[in-house]
Amino acid sequence: MATELKPQNKSIFAGGNLLQVKAIDQLMRSKWFPGIIQWPTLLLFMLIMFQLLLGPESAHDNLGTALTWVLWWPIIPILFLFLGRFWCAICPFATVNDLVQKFVGNNRPVPRFLKKYGIWIIDALFIFITWSDHVWGVVENPFGSGVLMLMLTTGVIASGSFFERRTFCRYVCFLGGLSGNYARTGMLALRGTPEICAKCTSASCFKGTEKAPGCPLFEFPKTMTSNANCVICADCIKNCPNDSIQLTVRKPTKELWFIRKPKIEEAFLSAVIMGIVFVQNVTMLEVWGSMLKWLENAVGTTNYAVTFSITFAIAIIIPVALLGLTSWIAGKFNKSSLIENFTRFGYAIIALDVAGHIAHNLFHLLAEGKSIFYTAIALLGQEVHGASPALVSMETIQFLQYGLIALGFIGSLYTAYRVAKNNHSGTLAWRTFTPYAVLIVVLTIMNVYLFVLPMAMRM
């Protein structure tokens, strides 16, 4: 009865349900999914941890560093774009959470303060971790990277021990916050079929059944309007007694056009991410050394924690302030408050964030990619000396970076346009849109400029 209401036979490229494809449907409903990917990921994670904590002390020779910072970290925003938060379904930390919970979990409700301030905590953690990486050299130091992983492991063990479902992933994990924002640009969407869900009273998708647990991230597909907290673990697909769940392909950034309840903390995070991408780029530029010298002279100290903190604060403040200024200018036209505009249009920057992030990481992936192979064969006693770690030429990388920034620019510009049109009509929409268009052009130019300058490598 229920399946008749589903938009069957619609092409999957035209928004049709991917679960129409038998192979995908079988995979999603299989009891082995997502475990079949989760467990190998956990094993790989254990190898990485072993390397980071007990392997070579030099990042250059450490397979854990290569797999973490040259392979995983660059690939992850690409995954968010194509598969939404699917990474979170197979993330080894989440697996540890589930394991601990299974054996000793007390399943207590999520603390109220986490529900209320979770995203702000994530914002703060994301800023702190990026800052500490620069000041304490986490990426350059395999053991430091290992300790970061241990901290996250301890976090998920604490969460899994005492709190229900994946409290840590939803309310604390800094990567979860980032992925939540990025997944909004993602091309996969999971939703309940409204007509079917309207008649449903079981809420099996949320509560869980004997087939699978309830949604690990506390989502209720019946009322879901965003993929920010859907990890596509397929538990709801298995649990739904009415086959209501649909998995569809959508246009990148589409979710950003219709945010029903925009939140300032999420808009703020999108501006912060832009600043973090700036600072990551700036500190990897060959001119960073001279900039640092200048700053040391200007502030009268050679303390790197001080000079970097100043740079970091400036880099983060710039996009936040620019977004604030733009929102204030737009408010002159649309009579909305600065906060309202900031909150609504902050989401428009996410497309450029994702593009800038992928473009930055593309350098590590493509210019240092072979180091994964070199460090792996070094484990077998085969040393490679003097060989280039680059997979492709710098020209190719730069071409791809500019292409990505161009796509991000289009995505952000169009999102701002759609948000303006959804909230205002006629010329007012255009007047509201124009300042944001200027902002997006400015941010794009800043990104492009940073990619023009030569970068230093991570390995």
Binding site: L54, F103, G105, N107, R108, T154, E164, R165
Partner: protein, 218 residues
């Protein structure tokens, strides 16, 4: 429950703070004010730290006295300080046991840390050594003659080579010291601390689970 969480969070915080500012936790007992000394061409050179040698801000004091014990004035003292290459560190005795450098800049420079670009120092991977200068740092002559002071920031822990260069009667002399900058917690301590915290968390959760009825199962 709340108390237990507080205890485990405090333990975790201690590990985090200890790791991030580990010099405070695992100082090797070296008395920072205790000076390292050597003779170079009849000039008595002593190297001391106002406090303890540590990762971060240090106030380094060099005292120069001639053979008669009189302070050496206006010696234009410069210093190079940086992490030492591993094989050098192993070869050297740990504190102040380096031999006086030969006279003259050329020979003295051959062992300067900043020049050893092809030999990564043991701790150089740990932190970016932004402030460990490859160019000599000029020490300020303090009010008391023969005493020269440098305030500098050391980014990394581990064995460091300190080259003190000074001028006496138009001749440049150099004294090389090796100092151990305490700071890195032993990996074993860090790993066991995390293991202990996690075992406490899991064990407590297990005990609590046995004592109470779970609210909601996953």
């Amino acid at each position: 429950m709340r108390g237990l969480l507080h205890i485990t969070l405090t333990l975790l915080l201690v590990v985090v703070v200890a790791f991030s500012n580990s010099s405070a936790v695992l100082a090797d007992g070296e008395d920072g004010e205790h000076a390292l000394e050597m003779e170079v061409n009849g000039i008595h050179v002593s190297l001391a730290n106002q406090n303890e040698w540590k990762k971060g801000e240090n106030t380094i004091i060099v005292t120069l006295k001639d053979s008669s014990g009189s302070p050496v004035k206006n010696a234009n003292v410069e210093m190079l300080i940086g992490p030492m290459a591993e094989e050098h560190a192993e070869a050297e005795d740990s504190h102040g046991a380096a031999e006086p450098a030969a006279h003259g800049a050329e020979q003295g420079h051959s062992s300067m840390p900043g020049m050893e670009m092809n030999e990564p120092a043991p701790e150089s991977q740990e932190m970016p050594a932004h402030d460990e200068e490859k160019e000599p740092l000029l020490l300020e002559e303090s009010g008391e003659h023969g005493i020269y002071v440098l305030e500098t920031h050391l980014e990394s822990a581990g064995t460091h080579e300190v080259n003190v260069m000074f001028h006496v009667n138009g001749e440049m002399l150099q004294a090389n010291f090796v100092v151990e900058i305490p700071g890195v917690l032993s990996k074993t301590i860090v790993l066991w601390s995390f293991a202990a915290i996690n075992v406490v968390l899991i064990a407590s959760a297990g005990i609590m689970k046995k004592q109470s009825i779970p609210v909601k199962g996953r």
